[in-house]
Symmetry: C2
Subunit: 570 residues, 2 copies
């Protein structure tokens, strides 16, 4: 029981001081969630109240099953963007059909995550490399930001997904900007930034919501061109399976898969960081199950996809959250809000919500990672920029898919031309190192020590042969022995075995002996199984290079005996 529902374990040792922290954190995050939930719902293309619906049931379910004690689940910007990009292809944004598909997406995401957790497939997210995710996130931040210019300024922009078109049009039609709307929007951004600088856990978003709403109501700004949220329905989300439709489910598959991975990735990253800080462990597969259950349960109560978010989790932690009870308290605050407080938001200007979104995503644009990779890893920077550009130019889902495929292709490509080195002895030591790095390393004319820094498999057998024989040709007639330092060869496939036997045959024809040094267990097993060990002779395998050299030095004429004719058939 404890194993599947961690909260049982939590409650066993729960006490008053833990509750005090949870209460403070739960209330703080709950208050933060009211405007954020509405803002992210608008970003996702849904009426604001759906952001509140998504902040009740999923939080409670995660609180029961989650292994992170501080993770704050709910609507997040990135997932909202993926919802509007994916679902927007099949239904008009904001329509009843759109809402139905968004909720169906939540069910799909929940099922995929739940099953991935059950079958322990959390490792799949490893294929989203850090540069790819960073490039994608930065591009998404720009796209989200650009999508909010409309609400922030009151400009009636042409509908487009192209960030540069939005920016150009904004500048071209600068004079058409609604002055009051823009003042509220930009003023809200400034206020949030200033309040955050002063105290990070203070509900800055709520402040601008209250001020903005009061000002609008007092001066009737909605009569002067300021767009307001308008009527928000009262009451808790109701249980409904109306959204369920198998033929719709099929068209949503790509969107569902991408949201499942991206949202899990965001959540597990922040959960692990917080867990490390507190010295406990989160279980990746249990997290998948908990997030999946939260999305499944949420979809039955009109929630769109949710996950654990960066900023609210940080606030939750800083406000003293000790257990997932804090999330239940946050959910209760939202539940009270939808029950009693929605009329208060009638005069809330849309520009305030746009300001909240813009501040939230500004932090996602990761220029420091780009600078860092420029200094340390140009190849990973190229990957980041490729994903960034593909996401901006081709679309959200296409961008991340291209990034993943590109990074896998590069892994394969670089393994076809791995590093290799000729080794020499350092002084009188037993250390043999790359002669191109250690110019003082000494080389015997009769012995070539060759290290190959990759597993041997079908895509690099050619490269192995070519680079080995290039050095052998350079060495010329004096060469008597080739020692392969196999310590970096961690596997050999059947094509590799075939190539090795060709190499041994070829070397025998040239009357050059062949030793293998430092091969790890699995490689020795494979060579034994395929008869290479027998063909070479057990005695020609060594623990390390120095052992192989010593064996040769001890009695160099011994190796000539090994060229008996019966052995030339490997």
């Amino acid at each position: 029981m404890k194993n599947f529902v961690p909260i049982v374990d939590t409650l066993g040792s729960y006490n008053k001081s833990a509750f005090k922290g949870d209460l403070n954190a739960g209330v703080t995050v709950g208050i933060m969630l009211i405007p954020q939930g509405m803002a992210y719902a608008i970003l996702a293309g849904l009426p604001p109240v759906y952001g509140l619906y998504a902040s009740i049931i999923p939080l409670v379910i995660y609180a029961l099953f989650g292994t992170s004690r501080q993770l704050a689940v709910g609507p997040v910007a990135m997932v909202s963007l993926l919802v509007v990009a994916g679902v927007g292809e099949f239904a008009e944004v904001g329509s009843a059909r759109f809402i139905q598909l968004a909720i169906l997406t939540a069910l799909g995401v929940g099922l995929v995550q739940f099953l991935m957790g059950l079958f322990r497939m959390g490792f799949l997210v490893n294929f989203l490399s850090h540069p790819v995710l960073s490039g994608f996130t930065s591009a998404a931040a720009l796209i989200i930001g650009a999508s909010q210019i409309k609400n922030l300024t009151g400009l009636e922009l042409t509908r487009t997904k192209q960030v540069q078109e939005i920016v150009i049009e904004t500048f071209r039609r600068f004079t058409e900007i609604e002055p009051i709307t823009a003042a509220i929007g930009i003023g809200s951004i400034a206020a949030i930034i200033l309040i955050r600088k002063w105290k990070r856990t203070f509900p800055s978003a709520l402040v601008v919501v209250v001020v903005g709403t009061v000002l609008t109501a007092m001066f009737g700004l909605n009569q002067h061109g300021v767009a307001i949220v308008g009527e928000i329905p009262k009451g808790l989300p109701t249980f409904s399976l109306e959204f369920l439709n198998l033929s719709d489910a099929r068209i949503l598959i790509p969107t569902v898969l991408i949201i499942s991975l991206v949202s899990y990735m965001e959540s597990i990253a922040v959960a692990k960081a917080i867990a490390n800080k507190h010295g406990y462990k989160v279980d990746a597969n249990k997290e998948l199950i908990a997030l999946g259950a939260a999305n499944i349960g949420g979809s039955f109560f009109q929630a769109f996809p949710t996950t654990g978010g960066f900023s609210r989790t940080a606030v939750n932690d800083q406000s003293g959250a000790n257990t997932t009870i804090a999330s239940i308290i946050s959910a209760a605050i939202i539940a009270l809000t939808v029950l009693f407080l929605t009329p208060l938001f009638y005069y809330l200007p849309s520009a305030v919500l746009a300001a909240i979104i813009m501040v939230a995503v500004a932090g996602l644009f990761d220029i420091s990672e780009m600078k860092h990779l420029w200094k340390t890893d140009k190849r990973d920077l190229a990957m980041l920029l490729a994903t960034f550009i593909a996401t901006l130019a081709l679309g959200i889902e296409e961008g991340i898919a291209i990034g993943v495929v590109l990074s896998l292709v590069l892994v394969i490509y670089s393994s076809t031309k791995p590093h290799s080195a000729e080794l020499g002895r350092l002084g009188d030591s037993k250390n043999y190192r790359n002669i191109n790095r250690y110019t003082e390393a000494e080389v015997d004319d009769e012995v070539l020590i060759y290290r190959y820094d990759s597993s041997l498999y079908f895509a690099n057998v050619e490269h192995f042969q070519e680079s080995l024989f290039r050095i052998i040709e350079q060495r010329g007639e004096q060469l008597e022995l080739v020692i392969l330092d196999a310590s970096a060869i961690h596997s050999v496939d059947s094509t590799g075995v075939h190539m090795l036997s060709e190499v041994i045959k070829d070397l025998r024809q040239r009357r050059i002996a062949f030793f293998i040094a430092g091969a790890i267990g699995p490689v020795r097993d494979k060579l034994k199984k395929c008869g290479i060990q027998e063909a070479m002779g057990e005695e020609n395998f060594f623990f390390d290079v120095s052992g192989a050299v010593a064996y040769y030095k001890d009695q160099p004429e011994r190796i000539k005996k090994t060229f008996s004719p019966c052995q030339t058939n490997v």
Copy 2:
């Protein structure tokens, strides 16, 4: 000049004895080519004379540019099958449109190979692993064999690509088999096999062609249901660019790409094997250029795609070919044939050509490779069988594509969960090996020596962390030092660097020191660049594990000093 047209070099040292060998080989292969060329043209869905056309110009061009001295270029069974499978989707087999597209395919293949050679992209064929190619070839042999049952037995079978359907239908309609046709066909197979057993270089195919033709003409067997080749146009192939059509070119792209790779693969494999035997080298990229030029030039003279084939190259070599002059002599024989001898083939029974094809492809079904992999590498066997089944069930091009993608996915997958080991000391030696293999290896309670057998990159950083910390937890409180044996880590990407700095931070919090031993140059460079080396301290890098252990043993209290607070920010 010599560098681009190797034949110039050849002629420089050409003499009478070399010519004697070339003459014998050229005539032998030329005579062999007459029936084989016609047979493979029929297999490719073309009138027989196109097989002769494809045996003139391509041979001469390869003779000028090729770096293999014995390779026999011309129509081969596998490429013919790919032509009929690919082109057959867009035109009715044997129609004028089909012929046009087949010749256009040759031009496309030539261009792709030529450009691949020019841009030194020969390494691309490395992605066709040995098991994938073997599974594909075996399936292709079955498909080719089944496609010839019709011609061999005179049965009018329903058109289908499914081997099992052809076999079932053959058995069901066993009584409808043309007795004389079947007798000629099966008799020819038996005769070829017997003659080959007696003397491999004897033109067995020509013998059955002559005997079959004479018998048919003498007894007028074509009046008794035996299908004959009929009239073959006289005269050399003419220069023509009528086939050229850009919109057709687009639809042929997948077929062209697959034929380019598969035909090059077959050719380079046999060229390398023969070159090894004679002690010279073939240049992979020049071979691509030569084969490309042969196909481009051939297409201008009505040739369909050609390449270097296994069996004729072996015969060429065994008959004494010394230089590519032999190929020019073969081409001359074929030219004389189309000029003067085509009327002689009027009564040639189709069943004889079917017999020639069947014997040729029987050798391609590679059961011994399957047996070998069953013993040595079950994973590669699974790959072979997957490609085999996909080719039979889904089609020629789909089969090979699935094989390639599957083998790449498996490479990636296995690198996400690489081998790793905890090491212990063997006796008093400096050798540290896997404690699960060497039960006598000794382990210190205070020191964990951990070896990770893969490069560190985004897809396995999770696995590294998890497997390392699993052992650390098992070790408990006594642990003071972790030594990472990095000798098998041949690269680290930015995600790997990030993870390593997390690991170091985490270990510092647990007051465990961290040494890296045996890291190769490129890895040390990377760690230096990213600041890991500085954060860890230069003195904590060692040539090998025994050096690291000695440093610790020498003064174990020294490592405790390294936990100064300023160092906890990696």
